[in-house]
Amino acid sequence: MKKETPRSIPERLHKERIRLPHFVEEAESAGPAMVWLTIIVILLPYIVFLTMEIGARIIDPPILPLRPPWAPELRSPYPPLTRYAWTGDLKRIARLPYYDKLIEQSPFLPRYTLRITDEWGFVNKPTGQPPRPIDEQHDIILTGASYMAEGSTIEHTFASQLTKELGKSVYNASWPSGGPVTGMIHLLTNPQFFTGKADLIILGIIQRYLYGYNFNEAFEHIAEDGSILPSTIPQHPNRQSLRDYPDWRNTLETYLESTSSIRAWALKAGQFLPPMAFDRGINTDIRISWLKDIPHAPILFYPADIASTFHSYESREGDKILEALIRIHQRCQTLGTKLLIVIVPDKYEVYRDHLNPPLLPQRNPLLHERPTHPRRRAPQVLVERLQEQGIDAIDLFPTLYDAQFHPGETKLLYWVDDTHWSDAGIAVAAKTVGNQIQTLYLQ
């Protein structure tokens, strides 16, 4: 057996590695003209691309969509007065032509969401007038995150459906990209936007957001007695500035991509390239499963969302959530506004009995989360605790769970290629919430 000694390593390693310089020598033997030709030929398409990218931005600088000059300098979830199509998560994360075909055959038509924003940058029909405080025209304000904000069209948002149910106009002040109370805090801390004269504020929260750390914003902005902490009223301007967005690097990347002059061309050419999974060094573990009794329904889940449904009230710091909501409620009472809290279940909770094969939660290796099996759903416990405190709250889980068994219900209540609820789900939920509002406040 050959003996190895540490001393002999460098020479051997040098031999192991020697191939590359040798390689370079061979490449250099081609002569300078050929080498330069190679560089130019390989780089030519890239240089054309780069020149087009830089040139297009110099000729027509597509700075971030600016606010109209009359708009006050407030943050907004979207740039005001825009309309554009948006796709479900799955279409966004993968280039999957065959999946598109499947979806087209599916009766559960997912969608391009057509999103329209008003003068304030929220998902509402524009009024065509300079923005005025929203409570001048609306008695009921809806806020929350993406669940509350979006529908396939402006007529199908939760706010529009609720308007139909109640016969009263509901303003959609939901903040899609934020946390569960981002929209609420924006509402309570910006007197130009909301003076505090509404009859009712509805705060919708999705089950998977019910973790104590998601409610820090409430503690940062609202004191124990329900007063607004002075230092935190946002004063930073937003115009032409990337800094206002908390994650400016992400925003910059997305901005550059979305304003790219060659991207439209690349998207067309991309059809001829092999499909690919989305990968940017981010773990986007997805699961596509089939609904047992419903044909043509491949349905998308995220393991982290599934795991969240197994977390108990205590493990989510439920009392911290309760305390945050109590502060918000106190603020609303001071303003003379009623508050209704609506908890929305996740897709997995509603459809887990239909899954074939069944999905079980996994531990998230990054967070070391351990799913436990709570005897009662955390939202149910939270709703009870809120009611004990005299705060009106509804858990939509029973409504949506039962709705899937309605004899007339042929549509899925959640999008198959996205985690959000579909127009059908929104309609069912709006009916329940509408009835509840009628009995609680209007009769």
């Binding site: 780089l43 398409p45 691309f49 065959y98 995150a145 997305t254 998207l267 991309g270 690919m276 069944p358």
Partner: protein
């Protein structure tokens, strides 16, 4: 930052390289360090401190070690440097796992007061590439101690060595002694640049056109409940191809970028799926890691110099730790153990080993099967999942139907083609470095397709995507 993104290809890279070529040589190390820190800290700037800590620790320990008068103090400085780097790696990579284990054990005896855990679990987000740059950093004091390398000339060039963006986050693991000379002086020739372009184009294409495509097959086996025979095999073959093209593609890009800046990095992959034994596989797969483990772990443990039994034990220990290096979990350790035992068995039986007695094509097939089995463990997050895949692969009957699986015929066809590429095609190091107009046009087409794929990967149509 990731290579296959718009911001890297169209903003970071032209700026970095453009300024690099305009600067005089002595400024280039500084520029390289600066841009590498931007590259590393793009998403999480706070983790740049880890990079700086590893740099300062190893640089100063190295300095003190060279100036030390006695052997004891040399050893002390070596220990400080190695222990410090390993401590950094240990804390950021393994603290979560160990607290989790401790909590699991504690819960057997104590009911948690808060209903969740007895021992608080440390939730640390793994700093990207920490395994790579700590290993790279450790090589410096050891090389110095062994007299295999000279002291780094100054802090900036040492910092540029640790942080060099081409290979910072996914290898190859470059040892200090390998590029010590190039840090002091290196040439920047058009030939190197042209070769670098070719490596980069091929690497990017491997990553975005091949690896990301095969990635689509993986969830068929790994994200469902019990996969069928077909889905289990499609999923694991997809993963086998994905991990190779992803990793080899990244290494090619790193080598290419290095060449564009005058550095010559070592080869990291040499067609590993052509191996006819596990020993050969480890000479071809992630070569810079396996040689690192050999020289800085296996040989200090005694290597094969302490008798046959110790050799087998050493091999197993090294591979077990190698598994742990890949990820903080028991499945990675088991993956390492599997490879360690296979290596030890080959060492033990030598020519009598079944793989050695088979005709080469059969031996290659059997080796690949053993490797594929190990990838089941590597990809599965837990034993239950690994068990389901293995059950699908070996304990169920083919149904000759894909059922409701979401798989395109194109992808089905791509898997055997991908396997054929791995088994028969020359790798990037075997392709002739000759330059001809036809080859240049081929590489231009490859780069164009890869860049188009990066641009065409759907991201958001607008500013927001964290719904």
């Amino acid at each position: 930052m990731v290579f296959s993104t718009y911001i890297f290809l169209f903003v970071y890279l032209p700026l970095t390289l453009g300024v690099y070529y305009l600067l005089p040589f002595r400024m280039r190390a500084f520029w390289l360090t600066l841009t590498s820190y931007v590259f590393y800290g793009w998403m999480r700037p706070e983790y740049c401190t880890l990079l700086a800590a590893a740099t300062l620790l190893n640089y100063y320990c190295g300095k003190r070690m060279v100036r030390a008068q006695t052997e004891t103090s040399r050893k002390v400085w070596l220990t400080v440097a190695v222990a410090g780097s390993l401590g950094l790696l240990g804390f950021y990579k393994y603290a979560g796992m160990f607290t989790h284990w401790a909590d699991t054990v504690a819960q057997l005896f104590v009911t948690p007061a808060n209903g969740v855990n007895v021992i608080p679990i440390l939730d640390i987000i793994l700093p990207i590439g920490i395994s790579f740059f700590t290993f790279q950093a450790i090589s410096y004091p050891i090389d110095l101690y062994r007299g295999d390398a000279e002291e780094a000339p100054d802090l900036i060039s040492f910092a540029s060595y640790i942080s060099m963006f081409p290979q910072l986050i996914a290898g190859p693991i470059v040892r200090y002694q390998w590029i010590a000379e190039e840090l002091k002086f290196r040439t920047h020739t058009p030939a190197k640049f042209a070769l670098g372009l070719r490596f980069f184009a091929h690497g990017l294409a491997k990553k975005v056109l091949l690896a990301d495509m095969f990635a689509l097959a993986v969830p068929l086996a790994f994200c469902e409940g019990q996969p069928t025979f077909e889905l289990a095999w499609i999923g694991i073959l997809g993963y086998t191809l994905q991990i190779y093209f992803d990793f080899a593609g990244y290494s090619d890009m790193a080598v290419g970028l290095g060449l564009m800046m005058g550095f010559t990095y070592p080869q990291n992959f040499n067609s590993p799926y052509k191996s006819a034994s596990i020993t050969e596989f480890w000479r071809r797969w992630h070569i810079t890691l396996s040689t690192w483990l050999r020289d800085y772990l296996y040989i200090p443990l005694g290597g094969n110099r302490k008798g046959a039994a110790r050799t087998y034990i050493n091999l197993t220990i090294v591979m077990l730790l190698g598994g742990l290096w890949h990820g903080a979990s028991i499945v990675f350790m088991l993956w390492g153990l599997w490879h360690g035992l296979l290596l030890a068995s080959e060492r033990w039986l030598e020519d009598k080993h079944p793989l050695k007695r088979m005709p080469r094509p059969l031996a290659v097939a059997c080796t690949n099967l053993l490797v594929i089995l190990s990838w089941v463990l590597f990809r599965a997050e837990n034993f239950r999942m690994a068990g389901r895949i293995l059950k699908g692969m070996f304990l169920s009957f083919p149904t000759f139907a894909l059922g409701d699986a979401l798989i395109s015929p194109g992808l089905l066809l791509a898997i055997p083609i991908g396997m054929a590429i791995c088994l028969f095609a020359p790798n990037s190091w075997e392709i002739s470095p000759k330059q001809t107009p036809v080859l240049a046009m081929r590489d231009a087409a490859i780069l164009l397709a890869a860049v188009t794929a990066v641009l065409a990967t759907a991201s958001t149509p607008f500013l927001y995507f964290q719904f």
